[in-house]
Symmetry: C2
Subunit: 134 residues, 2 copies
């Protein structure tokens, strides 16, 4: 599978507010997947954000390996999967991280301000694209 840097057509898909699913492993190795917001950063790392009480957060501290599949909203046969590691996990002070994601996905701040949240950054090791035009 190809390694970074990402080519322009993969970056273009990842820069859009597309549906995505992230998979991580439970401590026993069972994969667990869930829909997620994501945001591609300028350095090709990918921001995700979780409620601080999410079980997934403890999974990621145990085993930072993840897979993220991003579906093209227009036609989900077109999709990109990246495998990598969550290399940085840090408190989302003032909810700046989830606000960036909320602006990307629905154009406003994140409505629920009551709960602590956490940012994670995925460092991409491999990526693979299906039906993506050059």
């Amino acid at each position: 599978m190809p390694r970074p840097p990402l080519p322009a057509n993969v970056r273009d898909l990842l820069l859009q507010a597309n549906p995505a699913v992230i998979a991580a492993n439970r401590p026993d190795g069972q994969p667990v997947s869930v829909a997620t917001w994501y945001l591609l950063e300028d350095d090709d790392r990918i921001l995700i954000n979780m409620d601080a009480a999410r079980r997934r957060l403890s999974y990621l501290r145990d085993d930072p390996r993840v897979s993220l599949t991003v579906l093209s909203e227009a036609n989900w046969g077109t999709h990109v999967s990246v495998q990598g590691r969550v290399v940085d996990i840090s408190p989302d002070l003032k909810l700046a991280g989830i606000d960036r994601l909320a602006r990307q996905y629905f154009g406003g701040s994140y409505p629920n301000r009551d709960r602590e949240r956490v940012n994670g950054w995925i460092e991409i090791e491999f990526w693979h694209a299906w039906q993506l035009k050059d």
Copy 2:
């Protein structure tokens, strides 16, 4: 997380031809996810189908644990994830399995008849639903 049998609203979502992503583990435990077609059977097992040369097939023979996330096409904040095992893997003779999936997703037979394919059936151990109405 809840265990089967599936309640009616979860079955209803899974019975539709929705976008879905399946995650399995590489032999080293790295989760790998990819978009997939799926079909809920009457016995609550879930049919998937792969090209017989897919690396994912060897992953599943090594470690049958998978996670499948099904997104509501109308609003992907509404989604269901199931965790389980691929308990049965068998050759897709005459491509009857992929034809069932193709009919579900685009109403016709599967166009590419040249390659051997394989059916897998996921036995659900846990499921979890987000934003699903009763």
